[in-house]
């Protein structure tokens, strides 16, 4: 039992350390204005765009109808990400695209 708890704690700590690191400097952040209107829309975008190549982080503001995506410019660009949102049935207007 002790071994099991120890293993679980070590695994959780390792995953946290590996994944909670800030995105590297070469990452870029794009902000899109969309026409999403509800939590279901947000879930749909979250579940799909998160798995686009090069996406490193994603958050959605339902009130402001915006989608913020941190991505690796070597693997994708803002245009491809906008197209991924449009494929789901939403508009996607690029407001900002900056280096981090």
């Amino acid at each position: 039992m002790k071994k099991f708890l120890l293993a679980l704690t070590v695994a959780a700590a390792a995953v946290m350390l590996l994944t909670s690191a800030k995105p590297k400097d070469k990452s870029r952040e794009a902000l899109f204005q969309t026409n999403l209107h509800c939590k279901n829309c947000a879930a749909k975008i979250q579940d799909n765009v998160s798995f686009e190549k090069g996406v490193k982080d994603l958050s959605i503001n339902v009130d402001a109808k915006t989608v913020r995506i941190v991505y690796n410019p070597a693997k994708t660009d803002a245009g491809k990400l906008a197209e991924a949102i449009r494929k789901l049935g939403y508009t996607a207007e690029l407001i900002e695209d900056k280096s981090l």
């Binding site: 039992m1 959780a12 939590k39 279901n40 979250q46 998160s50």
Partner: protein, 721 residues
């Protein structure tokens, strides 16, 4: 009794003349569509279990994410992260699960399916098994007395299930899981919208699960879990008119077949329980705005359910006695019809009232045979509750709200009853929310169904029928009061770090009680075990039945992606029972603690869940104190032991599908001797030389099975442009 009326009158007065209200949550009946409710910020990951900040009543929400934290094949398995709700087996044979809320049996918790009362009567013992978790979008657990709109059967609380919606943009959602005890589960959900504005939409739901191989891990000769096959199909429709008119209707059919009892290899003539449940439900809900601004509207809810139960427990023909059977048999049919008509008015943000009429009709046809008897003819019982109600809500910004509700009900077997209920909420700052509620609860009891475990005993059962042999259904009555304080810690602006304390007290003035007692058998002079039902107040002296509950909840997200929750509950439950030496309510745990940790990586591609609980002792029935295993008494101090439970799950998410593996009961703790007298299920006299206790499989307080490992997959296809 008098003091409760005085307190109620005071609260009513307070509510009527000083209160300020809040909108009643009737969205399930009528109101905005769920998918258009504005959500402030969609956090990257949905919390699994959390306390709702906005609700007037202390409400714990188990979200879709929470329902994916464990195997959670059905509703009964969805409360493992909650200390508020305790789930246990009714007995060690049938696999029937029951919940406990505020230390009372789940029969005193009203179950709602999108604000329609469900799981009543015959479907109550197995109802939790009949709701596939993956059909659900969320579960809300409200503590204490709730709105009078759906009746006053909610005595300790209300559990509302929100199903996956027709407007979900998921044409296909499939889940499948498999456990190493050969339990398998498959769900298919398909939501379709038929035009751009989703004027018409539908969701089709299908479920099948089965337990295909019997296991006997403790070697007592009985299956740990029954072999079973459960099939459920549902179809729900939504019409959303441009003028705000909403029509929702749907159907659901269930078939559940299970066989428990002794393993086939144990005997040529094993003791078995065979249970077949079948159910058909249809409903329609209509909401019509009466003006352009939708400040007044009318709504109607109609619901019909037919439930059929065929069950036998060790029911076998008596050798050499033509026409006579031994064991017990319970066959029953139940027609339930519910109608609710509401008028709602909200001319301004401060004042809101609802008026309505409702009727709940239950028609039971029951045959109960016990012991060595000839098959009986069914007895027919009609239970009707016709009620008129009103509910006024005052809302003073976000600071204060009050809901004052009252019902006048005519019960065909008990006469007229008046039921007041009051809910108050005060949020003096962003950090603090205080709540209080109180009021009366009433329900017709169904003593045998409410205590279905007694069928899995070899004891005489007394007190279920009147002098004509018809099943009795007295009206039960309770008063519940409670308060809650929640402190949202100022350093976390997201509101995910909070500390919540609540206290609730439920006291019965009328209740059907179950008691175990040894009595002298005449004229033989032998002592015999009895299961006796009687009403509270039947004993000489002061009679009482109450529970007090204190619960503390803490939740926090110390770093992004890591959510920690810690919950503890203390229960003081007392009942005067003639057959017991103590007034501490038997088989009710004194405390429970739950710790849950979830970590999700960025973009939720990996999710780790871990839950640990410590389950406090229960006082056992007096007759259990003498049970011994290998010469040592099992419950020497009169209490069950404290035991831990551990759960863990790892989920990996890909585009369009998730896979997960996990384990339940990782401490491998099992209740010792869950079946008492397993050597002689047909009675003491059936085994020559047997001098042990009478057969009883109804005294379950812990896990029946050890470690269980499982794996599963969830497939989602989203609607595209």
């Amino acid at each position: 009794m008098k003091k409760y009326i005085i307190v109620s009158a005071f609260l009513l007065t307070l509510g009527l003349f000083r209160a300020s209200a809040q909108q009643i949550d009737t969205s399930g009946i009528y109101g905005e569509r769920q998918d258009t409710l504005s959500a402030s910020v969609f956090t990257a990951r949905q919390n699994g279990n959390f306390l709702s900040k906005g609700k007037d009543i202390r409400t714990e929400v188990i979200s879709a994410a929470g329902l994916c934290k464990m195997a959670c094949c059905n509703l009964a398995e969805s409360f493992e992260n909650s200390a508020s709700v305790t789930v246990g087996y009714s007995d060690a044979v049938t696999g029937a699960r029951q919940i406990r809320l505020l230390g009372q049996s789940g029969i005193y918790t009203q179950m709602l399916d999108e604000n329609r009362p469900v799981m009543r009567g015959l479907s109550a013992p197995w109802g939790l098994n009949f709701v596939p978790s993956q059909w659900l979008e969320s579960i809300q657990i409200a503590k204490g007395v709730t709105s009078v709109i759906n009746g006053v059967e909610s005595m300790t609380g209300q559990i509302n299930m929100e199903h996956r919606k027709p407007t979900d943009e998921k044409p296909l959602y499939v889940t499948a899981s498999y456990m190493d005890d050969t339990k398998a589960d498959l769900n298919i959900v398909s939501a379709l919208q038929f035009d751009e504005l989703s004027t018409w939409s539908t969701v089709m739901l299908a479920h099948v699960d089965g337990n295909f191989k019997a296991m006997d891990m403790n070697g007592d000769g009985f299956m740990d879990d029954p072999r079973s096959l459960n099939i459920a199909l549902g179809n729900r429709w939504l019409y959303y008119g441009g003028d705000g008119t909403q029509v929702r209707f749907g159907v659901r059919a269930i078939s559940d077949k299970r066989r428990g009892g002794q393993m086939d290899k144990v005997s040529d003539n094993p003791w078995t329980s065979d249970i077949l449940n079948r159910s058909l439900n249809g409903y329609v809900k209509v909401g019509v705005p009466l003006n352009e601004l939708n400040t007044s509207n009318m709504a109607m809810v109609l619901d019909y359910t037919y439930q059929n139960l065929a069950s036998d427990f060790g029911y076998v023909p008596m050798p050499g006695m033509a026409g006579l059977y031994n064991g017990s048999r319970y066959d029953a049919g139940q027609h339930s019809a519910f109608a609710n008509f509401l008028y709602q008015n909200q001319d301004n943000d401060d004042h809101h009232f609802t008026l309505g009429l409702s009727n709940m009709l239950d028609v039971y046809n029951e045959t109960f045979c016990y012991g060595i008897v000839k098959p009986r003819t069914p007895s027919r019982t009609v239970l009707n509750d016709l009620g008129a109600f009103g509910e006024y809500t005052y809302h003073h910004g976000d600071v204060f709200s009050a809901i004052v509700g009252a019902r006048l009900d005519w019960y065909n077997l008990a006469g007229i009853r008046f039921s007041p209920r009051v809910t108050l909420k005060w949020a003096p700052s962003e950090q603090w929310v205080f709540r209080a509620n109180g009021g009366r609860g009433l329900r017709y009891s169904t003593p045998l169904i409410d205590n279905i475990g007694v069928l899995s005993t070899g004891k005489q059962v007394i007190g279920l029928t009147d002098s004509d042999g018809n099943m009795i259904h007295p009206l039960e009555e309770s008063w519940t009061y409670g308060a809650n304080a929640t402190w949202y810690l100022p350093f976390d602006e997201s509101g995910k770090t909070y500390l919540s304390l609540d206290f609730f007290s439920t006291s019965f003035t009328r209740q059907m009680l179950l008691d175990h007692k040894m009595e002298m058998e005449m004229p033989s002079g032998n002592m015999t075990d009895l299961v006796r039902f009687y009403e509270l107040g039947s004993l000489v002296g002061r009679n009482y039945s109450y529970t007090n509950n204190l619960q503390l909840d803490f939740s926090t997200e110390p770093v992004r992606g890591l959510t920690l929750t810690l919950t503890g509950r203390l229960t003081d439950a007392r009942q005067t029972l003639g057959g017991q030496s103590d007034d501490i309510k038997p088989m009710t745990s004194l405390y429970k603690g739950v710790f849950n940790a979830q970590y999700a990586t960025r973009l939720n591609k990996w999710i780790f869940d871990f839950t640990a609980s410590v389950n406090g002792p229960c006082r056992v029935w007096d007759f259990m104190k003498d049970l011994d295993v290998n010469g040592s008494k099992l419950y020497a101090n009169g209490y069950t032991p404290v035991y831990p439970l551990l759960y863990a799950q790892v989920t990996r998410r890909f585009k369009g599908f998730d896979i997960y593996i996990g384990g339940e009961n990782l401490t491998n703790y099992r209740q010792p001797m869950p079946i008492i007298g397993a050597e002689a299920p047909f009675g003491k006299g059936s085994v020559p030389g047997y001098s042990g206790p009478e057969f009883d499989a109804s005294c379950v307080w812990g896990p029946l099975m050890g470690i269980k490992l499982y794996g599963g997959i969830r497939l989602t296809i989203w609607k595209k442009e």
